[in-house]
């Protein structure tokens, strides 16, 4: 049976991870390569790097991080952040990324989804949607860019459907209302999008405990759960999350304690 995936996300700036992790056996705790390897060793089903570097020069460090990670980390690797065009796409894939997530650039250049999926296949195109509650929108959720700072006047559900039609193979759905709260994922939003698109939906934003992961799968139908900070501070591990999921009847891939 297909496992529900648990994805560990790392924020990377200028080639270094921004938020700390508590892996005691790392030589360099700020090195995304070592962290990714550690996460994959302890059972993360995928690794996601989010590049938050501001300039292109700084972003080049990311290519090095990806290629080094891909040498030793044999699980799927998604990279997002600052992807503007097909050249960025190609550079990331050639560095060793398996999937590329696009967000703002898809909003400002909607053709990018179709172009990239035609060129590289829809299995590697992840449409990242940062949704914020807005009652004026037909679905109740508006698409935002730049980490939630810029409104777009685009309806999140319509955008998700259009993205899939244009070739996105997966949707990474972040609720900007729950992101960072550690009070749980946005179940209503996740359910709405997941029930209305044919591709897998990754729930993101708000995970504070293993129970939150269980809820978003059982109550909102998420295909995968993504979390960043909950794994970084050693309160919860990939193992404890998978154990809780498994005890609640969700099939997960075995991992080490």
């Amino acid at each position: 049976m297909l496992s529900t995936r648990v994805i560990a996300c790392l924020d990377v700036q200028n080639g270094r991870t921004v938020k700390g992790t508590n892996f005691i056996n790392l030589r360099d705790a700020g090195d995304p390569v070592e962290q990714a390897k550690q996460y994959s060793t302890i059972g993360a089903d995928e690794i996601c790097f989010l590049d938050i570097s501001a300039t292109y020069e700084k972003r080049r460090a990311m290519f090095n991080v990806i290629s080094k990670t891909a040498e030793t980390c044999f699980v799927p690797l998604t990279v997002g952040g600052g992807v503007k065009d097909l050249n960025d796409f190609r550079d990331l894939l050639n560095s060793g990324a398996d999937k590329v997530s696009i967000n703002s650039s898809a909003v400002y250049n909607p053709k990018l989804i179709k172009q990239s999926s035609d060129k590289f296949g829809n299995q590697c195109v992840v449409l990242a949607i940062d949704a914020v509650e807005n009652i004026k929108m037909p679905s109740g959720y508006e698409v935002t860019t730049h980490g939630g700072r810029k409104k777009t006047n685009i309806d999140s559900l319509k955008w998700a459907k259009q993205g899939v039609k244009n070739g996105a193979g997966e949707i990474l759905l972040t609720s900007m209302n729950t992101d960072g709260t550690k009070k749980g994922y946005n179940l209503k939003l996740t359910k709405l999008i997941s029930q209305n698109v044919s591709v897998p939906v990754i729930a993101s934003g708000g995970a504070g405990s293993p129970k939150d992961m269980v809820d978003v799968v059982l109550k909102a139908g998420a295909s995968a759960v993504l979390a960043a900070s909950i794994f970084h501070y050693d309160i919860h591990t990939i193992y404890s999350v998978k154990k809780e999921m498994s005890e609640n009847g969700i099939i997960v891939r075995d991992c080490e304690n």
């Binding site: 496992s3 590289f120 299995q123 295909s223």
Partner: protein, 219 residues
Amino acid sequence: MNLAIIDYGSGNLRSVENAFKNSININKLKFSIEVTNKLTSISKADHLVLPGVGSFPDCKKGLKDIDGLIDLLNNEVIYKKKKFLGICVGMQLMVDYSSEKKRTAGFGWLKGNFKKIEKKGLDYLGRDYKIPHMGWNNLQIENKIHPIVENISENEQYYFVHSYFLESKQNDQIIANTTYNHKIPAIIGKDNYVGVQFHPEKSGNSGQKFLYNWLKWRP
């Protein structure tokens, strides 16, 4: 021994190369690896790997664009009996044809055709079956004595990402299945060639185990 990973413009082959390198190093095997699109290198290699991502017609076109490559593969694999591994679309290309986008012929080494995974029904948690079939899934091993599945347990999982599956009445060519809504062939093969629907290069330790089995396999 010399291993050629065939580069015909289908995505990044570094992951496949990295995963093989790791297996070769860890198991102290004596293999050299070349990622190549040169016919002379392919014909000199002892073993061949054909990866593939994207759509079936695009991959087929990529192969056809390299003049003489498809004929060479037929000759090396079917007549000269070189050991061969097809991965994902590389596996799909081994059969008669695929219906992805438009009907496109494969190599015809194995019987059957690829059609879209069925969506109807709900999974054990009441969720829709999402397409692509994406993520980690188990194998049901049908040919338990095949060296390629040695030491691989049905509890282990492999990373899949695909939307089409092999439909075939030829059961003796199926080494293992997986299940997603319905039965999906996961490892197929005959004589000196095998193909896998999953990505061993992205399947952690289980993937490494599979690659090691393939490397030491003496068909």
